[in-house]
């Protein structure tokens, strides 16, 4: 399974599906053969071995939360070289994703190929909008730390925007810009941190970020109070710091290495050639037409060591169009998390959890 040499945003939707369908069908059989719990699920929902599928949207999906409740892997215990975990925002447990050497290598390569679409072939100086402790403090090791680590390998001469106390380290930023600010450099961070700890101090201090390429992820919920959405985020960065090359992305640990990346013009996320999204109506589970919001299903050919190739997320999204944007394929937006269902029943008393 190879991705196109020059880039991963090359296939028109029909070509992509024609390539994805046999790849993903093959992965279904692969995981059926190597992950007994997955095989039992397929059996129980009537997907027998050799079931033919006419479209990507017909493939059986797993709810992504199943990786929190069950250990699902298609490799032996001895082959696990990396165990990734992420706690969701709900605190309802931790996903565990098991990678063997091949899967770990494939995800790293896929990520760097995807990023090459916006960074070019060279490794750029990199500004990380986080503090070093996010990766050095083992006790606080988190999905955020894993995300930073995964991206950090794509850059060089890293500078950490936050000091050990979590405050913007202005001298360090100034020094980085003096050395690297006149040629393309990479900025990475989580959306809220980027806004709070890079945009605000940079705009105030009059830093010139016009040669930067910002890659960020994490959702807009915490920025809603400041009335900042994707459009406003881009506008204010351009006006305040000169930064115009901004790419939001969407991805999850259960499909590590697969990221859906915002195109140059902004406003839409695009699927790399080895991945796709299907928006589903949660009442019927059928594919929703473009323009109609629903639950986001993500598919990717990367997961070979765990059955994460077709996953129903708990995020809401909408497809805006197909083969009509910056890059070919579907373009879509993430609209936010599905609101949680109200817990009811005898086993729910005050004193429990306390999140509400």
């Amino acid at each position: 399974m190879s991705v196109t040499a020059e880039g991963v945003f090359g296939r028109a939707q029909a070509d992509k599906e024609a390539w994805l369908l046999p790849e993903l069908t093959g992965l279904i059989e692969h995981h059926r053969a190597h992950c007994p719990p997955y095989a039992r699920i397929l059996d129980a929902i009537g997907h027998r071995p050799g079931t033919p599928y006419a479209a990507v949207a017909d493939l059986p999906w797993l709810p992504v939360r199943l990786f929190k409740t069950h250990e699902l892997k298609s490799i032996g215990d001895g082959e696990v070289v990396k165990t990734l975990s992420s706690s969701g925002t709900t605190g309802a447990g931790v996903s565990r994703v098991f990678l063997d050497r091949a899967a770990a290598t494939a995800q790293t390569r896929a990520l760097s190929r995807t990023m090459r679409a916006v960074l070019g072939p060279a490794r750029l100086p990199m500004m990380i909008v986080d503090s070093r402790s996010i990766i050095t403090d083992r006790t606080a090791y988190s999905a955020r730390g894993a995300g930073v680590l995964g991206m950090a390998t794509l850059g060089r001469d890293h500078v950490w925007v936050l000091d050990e106390r979590g405050e913007p380290d202005l001298p360090a930023i100034r020094d980085f810009l003096a050395r690297h600010g006149q040629a393309p450099f990479l900025i990475f961070g989580f959306t809220f941190l980027v806004w709070r700890f890079l945009y605000e101090p940079a705009a105030a201090a009059g830093f010139d970020l016009s040669h930067g390429v910002l890659v960020h992820s994490g959702g807009w919920k915490r920025l809603a109070a400041a009335a900042v959405d994707g459009v406003e985020f881009r506008r204010r960065f351009a006006d305040g710091t000169g930064l115009r090359r901004i790419h939001n992305f969407y991805g999850m640990v259960e499909q590590i290495g697969t990221i859906f990346l915002e195109g140059p013009e902004g406003g839409s996320l695009y699927c790399p050639d080895f991945a796709d999204v299907v928006i589903r109506d949660p009442a019927t589970w059928r594919e929703a037409p473009a323009g109609t919001p629903g639950l986001i299903e993500v598919v990717s050919t990367l997961p070979t060591s765990h059955p994460g190739h077709v996953l129903l997320t708990e995020d809401l999204g909408v497809v805006h169009g197909v083969d009509d944007g910056d890059w070919p394929g579907k373009r879509f937006s993430v609209l936010g998390r599905l609101p949680r269902a109200e817990a009811r029943g005898c086993s729910d008393t005050i004193g429990r959890g306390g999140a509400a």
């Binding site: 719990p37 997955y38 039992r40 699920i41 059996d43 129980a44 929902i45 009537g46 797993l62 709810p63 939360r65 199943l66 409740t69 069950h70 699902l72 949660p282 009442a283 019927t284 639950l295 129903l312 708990e314 599905l338 609101p339 949680r340 269902a341 109200e342 817990a343 009811r344 029943g345 005898c346 086993s347 729910d348 008393t349 005050i350 004193g351 429990r352 306390g354 509400a356």
Partner: protein
């Protein structure tokens, strides 16, 4: 420490004041079992709850309003009624946050039996619970002052000290809300003479007689499915008494036919009620059902409708006791009703049934020999409150008997 008095609705208060007031002898003398002052007040609450304007908005308050009528209260009073039966004293109630009305039943029976009560109501309690509070506070206006002095409903946050003080002061502590809540509250000691009455996690299932189903006409089958729907969906299949599995008792082939018809009738009944499923719950149903398949608990998953998901159990005795979702039902077939003895364990609470004779049910009770199941009730009655709950006769638990010779 923020403690808010919700009934009487006097607002912020302190634990010292609350405990001192509850310890005082009320106006008009100590409360007695079946005290007229309490019965008057509760029947005033009943009238307000049965107001059509209230029951239209909160249909679940109809049964509570009915339960609080004078005639029903007198029926619930335990014998002997000659003064030898005495209140326990101060009862501390910790009800579940989201079964909106259970606190009212538990508290009303404790008040009826002459106890001083303090109920910890969740700050999250809303909807029906708010309506109950409003009715209580309205009825207080015309009530004897002893009511406001002895009966308190309070809300407080995650404040261990309040729980500690209330626990140390009470004569009986009533803890609803599952294993974790019981263990949490039990960390706070009660006095040596005090007792706990606990309602931990329970699970419930249904049984259908295949010959009984065959003998029923179409209307009776449809009514059975509608009654089952009420049992299962009223609290989103999350109440302890909500059925999570259905056992078909009879020959395999006939059972499969009956089950297929039942599934379709159930889907229709749920649709007719206009109940809909939230997307998050639809996802949860898949997580629960797929998880059961991954575990090997279920061999087949059926999607009867968006509201009805079925599981075929690999081993009939191993039904999933944890809640899988809303409208996820495990099915299995057994030859005889008494085979359920191999299914049941201590956690099982309610068996809802259709189509069995009283004799068959008694044979089952004998076969169970106390190893589980506290209630055997027909379809439609899973959630009806009874003064006997989880095997406890509450009016008796809330009182003690004095020996006079």
């Amino acid at each position: 420490m923020s403690l808010a008095a919700r009934f009487p609705a006097t607002g912020p208060t302190g634990i010292d004041a609350l405990l001192a007031e509850l310890a005082a002898v009320p106006a008009g003398g100590p409360l007695t079992v079946g005290d007229e002052r309490v019965i008057d007040f509760l029947s005033g609450v009943s009238k307000r709850l049965l107001d059509p304007a209230v029951t239209r908005r909160h249909p679940e308050l109809g049964p509570l309003g009915f339960f609080l009528r004078r005639a029903e209260l007198l029926r619930a009073l335990p014998a002997p009624a000659d003064g030898r039966r005495q209140p326990r004293g101060l009862i501390f109630h910790v009800p579940p946050a989201n079964v909106d009305t259970i606190f009212a039943y538990s508290w009303a029976l404790a008040a009826l039996t002459g106890n001083h009560n303090v109920v910890r109501l969740s700050a999250r309690a809303a909807g029906a619970a708010e309506a109950v509070l409003a009715a209580l506070n309205e009825a207080l206006a015309g009530a004897h002052p002893a009511i406001g002095q002895t009966q308190r409903i309070v809300t407080y946050g995650h404040d261990a000290e309040v729980t500690e003080r209330l626990s140390a002061a009470c004569d009986l502590r009533v803890i609803w809300g599952g294993d974790r809540a019981v263990n949490d509250v039990r960390r706070h000691p009660i006095r040596p003479l005090a007792r706990d009455l606990t309602f931990p996690d329970r699970a419930s299932f249904a049984a259908v007689s295949v010959p009984g189903w065959a003998a029923a006409d179409h209307d009776a089958r449809r009514a059975a499915a509608a009654a089952f729907a009420a049992d299962a969906y009223w609290f989103d299949q999350a109440a302890c008494a909500s059925p999570r599995a259905v056992y078909w008792i009879g020959p395999d082939l006939a059972a499969a036919r009956a089950r297929a018809e039942f599934d379709a009738l159930l889907a229709a009944a749920v649709r007719d009620r206009g109940w809909a499923i939230e997307p998050a719950m639809a996802v949860q149903n898949r997580v629960g059902a797929y998880g059961a398949a991954a575990d090997g608990t279920a061999t087949a998953i059926g999607f009867v409708s968006d509201m009805v998901t079925t599981l075929d159990l690999a081993v009939p005795a191993a039904y999933p006791r944890a809640r899988l979702g809303t409208g996820v039902f495990a099915h299995a077939t057994l030859a005889r009703l008494t085979d359920l003895a191999g299914v049941v364990d201590r956690r099982d609470q309610t068996l809802t049934y259709f189509g069995f004779s009283a004799e068959e049910l008694r044979d089952l009770a004998t076969a169970l020999a106390g190893r589980g199941i506290d209630r055997i009730v027909p379809f439609g009655a899973a959630l009806s409150f009874s003064p006997v709950w989880d095997g406890y006769d509450l009016p008796r638990e809330f009182t003690k008997i004095m020996t006079i010779r």
